[in-house]
Amino acid sequence: MSFLELFRRRGSAPVARERLQILLSYERASRGQSDLLAILREEILSAITKHVTVERDSVQVRMDRGPSVSTLAIDVEIPHSTGMLLATGS
């Protein structure tokens, strides 16, 4: 075992620790509560569907939970016809 390898061997445990801390803080916070993500998704969708007709299949939700902030990305495909409607209607 070389010295370089010695350092490399220490390398993965801190990564594991950080990943677990992020994951567990999220899971502990959401335990016993309804899923914040699901609530946000439904409310954002209902806000959108008030103005345009969207296919639920054409909605993609992505999430990235970070140590201090998480990002929620919602892609909604709005068909041109209804998109125009929104532009003229509002």
């Binding site: 070389s2 999430m63 939970r65």
Partner: protein
Amino acid sequence: MAKVLVVTSGKGGVGKTTSTAALGAALAQTGQKVAVVDFDVGLRNLDLVMGAERRVVFDLINVVQGIAKLSQALIRDKRLETLWLLPASQTRDKDALTEEGVGNVIKEMREKFDWVICDSPAGIERGATLAMRFADAAVIVTNPEVSSVRDSDRIIGLLDSKTEKAEKGERIEKHILITRYDAQRAARGEMLNIEDVLEILSTPLLGIIPESEEVLRASNIGSPVTLNNAASAPARAYLDAARRLKGDDVPMAIPSDRKGLFDKLFGRRAA
């Protein structure tokens, strides 16, 4: 049309999730389109081993219940674009899985992938029986140790009676994957040898994965071992096993990591 594979064992802690991730990635590394599916509802871990735990939005139960589409729940691997993950739900319990619902999801996945690999929970309860229910083939992960072999035997019995294939009178393809194999301990006669395990279970061998610190390192980082260090002994063993699953004729070998000075001085006396 995909081949549906269940990775199962009966016993916990033998390496099902590690093997699912490694075999899934190994097949995807050869260009095959692969989905790995976590059936361990309430105790999911495949997402963590694959390094996708921060990106889970929907899960298997959401798809089974029609809350999300399959395409919305599948998470594409960041390293391999032909590898996808369908996570289990962490908050629900296994009763939320229905046979009909799981059957529909598997049917849809068959159309979209070359391989659908179902990571079974330990035990023989609902999650485990549904994970194997629609499988064409099974990888039975076994440690060379008495309780693991006994549980594998029990699982083989279930595969031959409770799967859809078995009920139709067809044979489900079965493979034994020996994991956590320690050649030095086997040489000292402290570990069941592989011939004995295969004879007891009378099932063919898919591969022998040596015990290795590389497996722990890969899971720490959140990467299948075949991706994290493809040259390591366990990775080579998994890559060979994946080729055998594809039907290639790969001679059976137990890869080992190159020994450093430390191992040469202190490891030798064990052999």
